[in-house]
């Protein structure tokens, strides 16, 4: 029987849920919903949008139409740096159906967009002017846009456009750029260098040393839905002359509707109230669906042509216009004593970046919190390149950083002749080794122990290349996974209560993570309503608050906002009840939500349903909105998710081919809210980790600065046959300082997998591959 059926059959009345207190303060108690056995929490509820997704009725951004809509196609620069001398658009303009050819010569004046992580309104990938000058800043930059009545006409016209350039020298070679590397002024808002003690001296003095360089290539998100949007400019009713009432309506594929509105308002010099973005279905994001040039160009062209526009990037277009993960070269140096205790931990290196964005791929993130070394030095330098700005991709930093760190740990274990899990156990810290804060919730050793038991880790042979099956060499490897808990400011929620149930509205996003489903469950549990009486609204910039789908923060951010809104709702409901109500005289903290109404805690008879309260007050609905509490918990504790990844790999001794035979992830991510969607999230991350380990690489030509494999045929991602049955398990121990006791789980799955695979490959073949991806040529 599913949890839903259970609730329907009523044989398990939901217990009351009191209002959450100050979970973010040391003296505050945990969210009551984090307690074990809460009805509906953890239930494997099937996705609330499942039927729409399997029948094809879920409408994605590039599938809306407007009356009179035209289709866009882009022309991309073929040089990395220089000037446009001439754009020959005559042939294109004469072609059938062509409505507009837009270049820097006729594009409307646009302000440069604010950049993500540099400006509070920033959603843009870089700060280059957009089609405003003859300058070319990267190979692939849009230099012309065509609008036509059909996509075929637009594409053909775009192909006919000839562009002459005056190319200038460009820094497109990472090897060369590295020699001019610089220390960025910040990494994700924090320092670019972190030191504890004197790591270099401690390393020199250590009895056991590992000092190795690990390299990771560029990656692209490759969400299966290419970026697309449909938009229209309209002027308000009765406003003939226009400008004032002008609004921009956009159906976009976005993981940040509010931030995109704020950035677009700056670009077009209009008010945020004049822009409305909705994005109810997003065909995968992984960090790639923020604001890039295509949205701005589409809106500019629509304005110029005075027609609604659909712009759907081709798969190649996504590679040209939307940044990916930067390549890195990392050094990990470990110094340990005879017992394997780390005395020195150095993790430094260089990542490619541009001078026009602000994301040094933060590969030392995981290293900040994982091991109790006496002396630590972490640093990131950037090599400025003339390329499309790099950006966030699933677990920026941890995904590639954990490959280096966790490979090095394995190398040290090998040198010490110690089990790799035991080595990690010996270096488990009491407190956060770099911030000194206590951990809010850390049960990594428990996750590692239970995972090892389930996986059969004890069967691993300590001697590499000692297990064979025919021409296959078999090996086991493990690695630690970790990703921070965060809760960004800006979240707010609106709860609208009617006699039939509640609507929860929040400007958050669903890109497949299960947000809509999980938050429906959580709201139902919190308000004491069955799930079918909750409608969760999201993906609309008109909704309350501003919640970025990033940093695995949505679960907590939405949870915190709903906690605040629930308190406001209860206060308003109590203000409505009259003298005759059994609830009369109670304060919010004496109240719990239960059985579709409010009741006094510990008193079954003092109870009224929401419908009764509303009816008594003569109201058909009650609507409240509240802001989430500030995320003080982040200053009070070191907050992270943890896990251990176990992998069994087969290496073909004849061909060098690697096949993953088994993969298990054992996670410690607080309370799991929906076992079904959580399983999918973990597995999805781990599969992207297999891609990172074995096949993914954006090939960047160091001579031309051009991405040479901008297609799903040439950029390989794991397919069905590459993926074994993946086991996932979790501690399910709630974090006492987070909403629902939960942590976001969208990114941790990819972390650790690269190293677990590399370590298994080493155990299988005796070959240590420090350069991703682990393709067969490296094993021959």
């Amino acid at each position: 029987m599913s949890a839903l059926d259970k609730e329907r059959s009523g044989d398990n009345q939901p217990a009351g849920v009191a209002l959450a207190g100050d979970y973010w303060r040391p003296e505050g108690g945990p969210d009551p919903l984090s307690e074990k056995g809460r009805i509906g929490i953890g239930a494997p509820l099937s996705r609330v949008d499942g039927a729409e997704k399997v029948t094809g009725s879920a409408r994605f951004a590039g599938e809306f139409t407007f009356e009179g809509m035209v289709y866009a196609a882009l022309v991309y620069s073929a040089i990395a740096n220089g000037r446009i001398l001439n754009i020959d658009r005559r042939e294109a303009e004469a072609m059938g159906g062509v409505v507009l050819v837009m270049t820097h010569e006729n594009a409307p004046r646009l302000n440069t967009p604010p950049v993500f992580l540099r400006s509070p309104n920033g959603a843009a990938g870089d700060d280059h002017p957009i089609m405003q000058t003859d300058r070319v800043h990267w190979n692939g930059q849009p230099v012309a846009l065509v609008l036509a009545e059909t996509q075929e006409q637009a594409d053909a016209a775009a192909e006919s456009i000839r562009v002459d350039y005056a190319a200038e020298p460009a820094m497109t070679d990472f090897e060369l750029a590295k020699t001019h590397a610089r220390r960025p002024d910040n990494v994700l808002g924090g320092p670019a260098e972190i030191t504890v003690g004197d790591a270099d001296a401690a390393f020199e003095a250590a009895a056991h040393q590992i000092d190795a360089t690990y390299t990771t290539p560029r990656h692209n998100h490759n969400a299966i839905e290419p970026h697309a949007l449909t938009l229209v400019w309209t002027t308000g009713d009765g406003d003939e002359s226009g400008r004032e009432g002008e609004t921009l309506r956009i159906h976009d594929a976005s993981q940040c509707v509010d931030l995109a509105v704020a950035s677009l308002a700056e670009v077009f010099g209009i008010e945020t109230s004049q822009i409305h973005i909705t994005s109810p279905f997003v065909g995968g994001g992984f960090g790639g669906k923020a604001l890039w040039q295509h949205q701005i160009l589409a809106a500019a062209a629509a304005k110029l042509a005075d027609r609604p526009v659909r712009l759907a990037l081709s798969r190649e277009g996504v590679y040209r216009v939307v940044g990916g993960r930067a390549c890195t070269e990392q050094r990990v140096a470990l110094g340990a004593d005879e017992q394997g205790r780390l005395q020195a931990l150095i993790h430094s290196g260089i990542a490619a970046m541009t001078q026009h964005n602000n994301l040094p791929e933060p590969f030392f993130q995981a290293t900040k919190c994982l091991y109790a070394a006496d002396h630590i030095r972490l640093s990131i330098d950037v090599a400025d390149m003339q390329m499309l700005a790099n950006t966030f991709m699933r677990a920026p930093g941890e995904s590639v950083g954990s490959f280096a760190l966790e490979s090095a740990l394995d190398e040290l274990a090998d040198q010490l002749g110690m089990d790799p899990l035991e080595l990690r156990r010996r270096n488990e810290p009491e407190r956060d080794p770099t911030s000194g804060l206590a951990f809010s919730s850390r049960h990594l050793l428990e996750a590692a122990r239970s995972g090892a038991e389930r996986f059969g880790w004890s069967e691993r042979s300590a001697t590499p290349a000692s297990r064979h099956e025919g021409e296959w060499q078999i090996g086991l490897g493990c690695a630690t996974a970790t990703y921070p808990y965060i809760r960004m400011p800006g979240a707010a929620a609106r709860i609208t209560l009617t006699p039939d149930g509640a609507t929860v509205g929040i400007a958050a996003h669903e890109m497949g993570m299960g947000t809509a489903t999980v938050q429906t469950q959580v709201a139902a549990a919190r308000l004491g309503l069955p799930v079918e009486k909750i409608a969760f609204h999201y993906g609309d910039s008109h909704l309350a608050g501003s919640v970025l789908a990033g940093g695995s923060q949505q679960t907590a951010a939405i949870g915190g906002a709903v906690i605040a809104a629930q308190r406001a709702l209860v206060a308003e409901l109590l203000a409505l009840v009259g003298q005759d109500s059994p609830l009369s005289g109670l304060s919010p903290d004496e109240i719990e939500c239960r059985n579709e109404g409010l009741g006094a805690i510990g008193n079954g008879s003092r109870f009224e349903t929401y419908a009764q309260i509303l009816a008594r007050a003569g109201q058909s609905e009650l609507s409240v909105q509240a802001d989430a509490a500030g995320s003080e918990e982040l200053a009070n504790w070191s907050m992270h998710s943890f896990g251990t990844i176990f992998c069994e790999a087969g290496v073909n001794s004849v061909t060098g081919e690697v096949r993953i035979r088994r993969l298990l992830g054992s996670f410690d991510c607080g309370r799991i809210l929906n076992t079904k969607t959580a399983t999918s999230q973990f597995r999805g991350g781990m599969i992207m980790g297999l891609g990172l380990a074995l096949m993914e690489e954006t090939l960047f030509d160091p001579r031309s600065g051009r991405v040479m494999n901008p297609s799903l045929a040439d950029y390989h991602v794991p397919v069905q046959m590459d993926v074994p049955e993946i086991e996932v398990m979790w501690t399910d121990i709630p974090d006492p300082h987070t909403p629902m006791g939960a942590h976001g789980i969208g990114e941790i799955g990819i972390t650790g997998v690269g190293a677990a695979v590399a370590n298994a490959v080493y155990n299988a073949s005796g070959k240590r591959i420090r350069d991703l991806p682990i393709t067969l040529d490296k094993l021959l």
Partner: protein
């Protein structure tokens, strides 16, 4: 020009350059069929033509005139989900849902392959009469449908469960049980 799409005769005059995929999405507003690459690499555009699965992005609309095409919108019958559709929901065979229509049509297309004894790269005995239908056959045959969300395990579970049900109805209870055991890992 004329096509039979999801049981209905549809007519349109289209550009000879129009792909079958764009015909469906832009002319007939059947946007359930997805465009993930437009170059035959992802399988998101998979539809059934006379029961066989093809990549609609690699097909020209003109070339398929007069043929019978089934898209994801046509899998359910009279409002009842196809067993594979229902199983996708139950087994969480998707996350974002963008690859899902292609996965579904591809899965349904496999039934025909089974009936026609088409071998795959993992078929062990090409000379044998009939194909031993197992999870590897399923995974190999579904490897043309990419899922970046990584719902592969759920997809395989869903197809196994859905096909077992579908084939059970078509070929009798006996097979249902055998398949159920064999496919459900």
């Amino acid at each position: 020009m004329q096509w039979t799409i999801n049981g209905q005769v549809r007519e349109a005059e289209v550009d000879f350059r129009t792909s079958l995929l764009d015909l469906l999405r832009e002319q007939f507003q059947l946007s359930g069929t997805k465009k993930g690459c437009n170059q035959g690499a992802c399988g998101a555009c998979t539809v059934l033509v006379d029961g066989e699965r093809i990549n609609a992005c690699l097909a020209l609309a003109v070339q398929y005139q007069g043929r019978t095409i089934t898209t994801v919108e046509g899998l359910a019958e009279n409002g009842t989900l196809h067993p594979v559709q229902a199983a996708f929901i139950e087994h969480d065979g998707f996350q974002c849902g963008y690859c899902t229509p292609g996965q579904l049509c591809s899965a349904v297309g496999m039934i025909g392959e089974l009936e026609r004894d088409h071998p795959s790269a993992v078929t062990a005995d090409l000379a044998a009469n009939g194909i031993e239908w197992n999870r590897d056959e399923l995974r190999e045959r579904m490897s043309g449908n990419l899922c970046r969300c990584g719902a592969y395990n759920g997809i395989a579970d869903a197809i196994a469960a859905g096909l077992a049900k579908e084939l059970g109805e078509e070929l009798g209870e006996e097979l249902d049980e055998e398949l159920g055991e064999e496919i459900a890992r």
